[in-house]
Symmetry: C2
Subunit: 337 residues, 2 copies
DNA sequence: CTGTTAGCGCGTTCAC
DNA sequence: GTGAACGCGCTAACAG
């Protein structure tokens, strides 16, 4: 590694001033076509690449967006990341990816690290933080978009956008489907108690049950880790403790697959003894046996919309829509026909 | 957003010079304990965060690593990303994630973009580029680690490390397993023709077949997209054209699952009519019916090792091992007992 | 149309 | 133990 080529090198070689090179680079129009071509040729010849670091110091824009997720390897979030990255790339932004591993201390830590990196904005898909801590940490960033979490506090800057799944409608739809099939005692594997999506889905579940004249007992509801293993363990306990359950609505497909496994362990047939409905429609959902009935959510779109909303806000169009709610769709398969 | 707090604000407020604040920030030892504490208190009080942008301009280190993958939502790579991110976070580095979508032009584009971002190094998990183009693009970065691809050219800088799966041994193991079960006519769904992993696995496949005294016909080998759909389509054609095939070794588990679907479409029983072996052991592999026999690869470890190797090289320990080969393990399930 | 001057926020010389 | 200068590579203002 000799020396990185700087703008000054290009300028000297091309026999022009720094400014002219800078103008060519930034497509300013007040440069003669001749000079422009000559400078461009020199840039190519020297293999010059402008430093976003130096540029960022003066423009106060780094062209980088922070993307915070609990876990990229979770198929749900990897789709969100793919969508967000796609939009960012198309608009010439880079993505700084941060995993939080569901840890609120890490949420704060990465938000702080992103601040030092001077990102132009943050897409936050992992916010288990308390309202005030989140507000504090997020308001230190120029703009932010929250995914699947609404902020109660008024955002006077208008800088915080929100993209959500319609969890309530989804939970209601899923539960209603089970009720329509004649089920009365429907359990709910609720996912992590801190999950905002979980709360929404639970609300939908309660609404559907109540509307059908059933008061869901708290014994039918159980929190669990949002994983196959979490679902297996909790479904096992839930079904063991409440033999009257004939159907299970699950926080997500991973939990539902765990529930499927628990049923096999307990010798219960799905859907004949216990019907199961998941959430998300991850690729796996169609491939397990029996195939999972589930609420499809477009996670890719969650990512694209979040990034688009953020870039819009960076552009300064903050007056436009601040909250986007994405619908869900019931996909009926064999686990709850 | 009023004004970002700068070091000068801290210095003024604390009644010291810029340098003292800088020294406290970087843990230099020649500061009195008293001053240090006072400055730290002021930093906290003002909520000051040093700008990595300004710092990077002078130190020439940004604390950011470029991570290039074909597709984060591919379960294989999302694990690699998780591993790499974990190590980076632990060592106080940030990860700039780039998807290439298997497009060589994008590979070049992101490598260039990462150069402008002045990353301290690059982990490259997507290199379909020709040797000379890759060399050219990668040698512009301070250091780099290639995952699953070896570089033929001599790296005089010693800057390029390599982390690989033992694809040859894996392909051999998988094929040998099928041969041991009495199969003679084993097909190979080879994945993309540009995949280096695919080449390695094919070599293992050929070695095992040849060692068993079978000359694999080129008609038994078919390239395909590394997806479920790619596997379904190509398996369908391969099995349709060659009814003598009794076993299929597949580039990866997604392809194998596609092959599984093709068998269902064709009315062939797995494993009785056709045995199938995949590669990777993604979570899905154990959950499909029949469960997939496959070569387990530790993708998470691929990510951690690659990032560790890179950070080591950034630290300047280039003389140590330049190439890491990770073993694979055969997991026998029902698709090829 | 082009060049000159002045910083952006910080770390690295050196002095004190 | 602490501070004052200078410069990292680039762009924003102003000249000409």
């Amino acid at each position: 590694m000799t020396h990185r080529v700087r703008m000054a090198d290009v300028a000297r070689q091309a026999g022009v001033s720094l400014m002219t090179v800078s103008r060519v680079l930034n497509n300013k129009d007040d440069v003669s076509a001749e000079t422009r071509e000559h400078v461009q040729a020199t840039i190519k010849q020297l293999g010059y690449r402008p430093s976003d670091v130096a540029r960022g110091l003066v423009t106060k824009r780094t062209g980088a967006i922070g993307l915070v997720v609990p876990d990229v390897s979770n198929p749900y979030f990897s789709e969100v990341v793919r969508g967000a990255e796609h939009v960012a790339y198309a608009r010439n932004y880079s993505v700084l990816l941060c995993n939080t591993e569901e840890d609120t201390r890490r949420e704060l830590a990465v938000l702080q690290s992103l601040e030092e990196k001077c990102v132009d904005g943050v897409v936050m898909c992992s916010s288990r933080l308390a309202e005030d801590e989140l507000e504090e940490a997020i308001s230190r960033h120029p703009v932010a978009v929250l995914v699947n979490r609404r902020l109660e506090f008024a955002d006077e800057r208008g800088g915080v956008g929100v993209v959500m799944l319609d969890d309530v409608a989804g939970g209601q739809m899923a539960t209603q489907h089970l009720l329509n099939s004649g089920h009365r005692v429907v359990g709910f594997l609720a996912g992590p108690p801190t999950s905002h999506s979980g709360h929404g889905r639970m609300e939908g579940y309660r609404m559907a049950m109540t509307a059908a004249g059933i008061l869901p007992s708290s014994r039918w509801i159980k929190h669990c880790a949002p994983t196959v293993e979490g679902g297996r363990v909790s479904a096992s306990e839930l079904l063991g403790d409440n033999p009257e359950l004939t159907a299970l609505f699950c926080f997500n497909d991973l939990v539902a697959i765990g529930a499927l496994q628990a049923c096999i362990d307990l010798g219960l047939a799905v859907p004949d003894n216990v019907a199961i409905v998941g959430f998300d429609d991850i690729p796996l959902a169609a491939l397990v046996t029996p195939a999972l009935t589930t609420c499809r959510t477009s996670r890719y779109e969650l990512g694209t919309q979040a990034m688009e909303l953020l870039l819009e806000r960076i552009g300064g169009h903050a007056e436009e829509c601040k909250e986007i709610v994405l619908p869900t769709e019931l996909i009926v398969r064999n686990s709850a026909p």
